[in-house]
Symmetry: C2
Subunit: 195 residues, 2 copies
């Protein structure tokens, strides 16, 4: 034991965020203490405050980093030419990205109510920007007469809920591969939008 002092800044920082992400996802923000996180990192609780302003700031940083990642990754994604291609691209991207980060996803959806109002507004804005990505695809498809949608806004929310739901049951050791899951969901999404 007894990690002695010295300079481990570049190690402790990431380890802190990793531990916090894992513990918050498992037990919930309010149920995890700074001392638990510190123990996981192998450090005393006081040392954490060299890296974060406070517990709330830690949660906010984790959520913001996740959503920034999400939006940046979509920017870097090949999006296809037609609305149908774009929707397939989005569907597969969303599933893949979310399955790769189960803890971050869990926190982003479950801990919104533990954000202070100012922090919540920032996160909510990023979430809406991502929602708009899908909404724009669906509207373009509807305008082009490729999709049949009773309500574009509701279809957006319905598709995202359906896709994000994958994270609640998917296990790497399960019956289906990721690619198979992507395919099955794409099949259902395509039919749901009438294409």
């Amino acid at each position: 034991m007894a990690r002695t002092s010295g300079s481990h800044s570049d190690i402790t920082g990431p380890r802190l965020r990793d531990a916090a992400q894992r513990l918050f996802a498992q037990h919930g923000y309010a149920a995890v203490s700074m001392r638990q996180i510190a123990a996981e990192v192998g450090v005393q609780a006081g040392a954490l405050y060299n890296y974060i302003p406070d517990k709330q700031g830690l949660l906010f940083n984790l959520m913001k980093a996740h959503l920034d990642d999400l939006l940046a990754a979509w920017q870097a994604e090949p999006k296809g030419e037609t609305p149908l291609e774009a929707l397939e691209s989005f569907t597969r991207f969303h599933i893949r990205f979310h399955l790769d980060r189960p803890d971050a996803v869990f926190i982003a959806y479950m801990e919104l109510r533990n954000l202070e109002p100012a922090n919540f507004a920032v996160i909510e804005g990023l979430r809406k920007r991502y929602e708009t990505v899908l909404e724009d695809i669906l509207r373009a498809g509807k305008d082009a007469g490729v999709f049949t949608l009773p309500d574009t806004k509701l279809a957006t929310l319905a598709v995202i809920a359906m896709l994000t739901g994958v994270t609640t049951w998917y296990r790497d050791t399960g019956r289906l591969s990721r690619d198979r899951v992507e395919r099955i969901y794409w099949n259902m999404v395509r039919k749901a939008v009438g294409a």
Copy 2:
């Protein structure tokens, strides 16, 4: 102030559950203290223990009551004759039931990780029983050649996720009536299952 003592058993019990449900939904189980609940009820914290074994038991009772309600309500629902009618019935029922109980729904989905293992097993069992209701409908429709499903199990999970997602955005003061929402989602569900 100062609610004095006396016999309020039949009043305090329900009020305790109401307050706990509201507060747990708003702030999360771990973030709400017994003293906050007691204050909401208008009583000292110690008095709550005349009605519940402990905080964990309170959470468990709330979740169990919700799922018992859900299964009982479905039993009492007219289910239609054909798989298509049954699916419409289920879709509308699920949306209606969940929109009527936003707090209970929120707790049932968010606080699973705060249940002790034994309690979790009970709740999980009830949740799976409800899932099976939809799975049976989908399988019947698939066997009858009415539904086209790439994977019955995944379709079950996808549809439930999609429908339950309504609770995250629906507001009574919003653009659409409940009936309109039911209709729009039924349209999307029907198409998603290829009927």
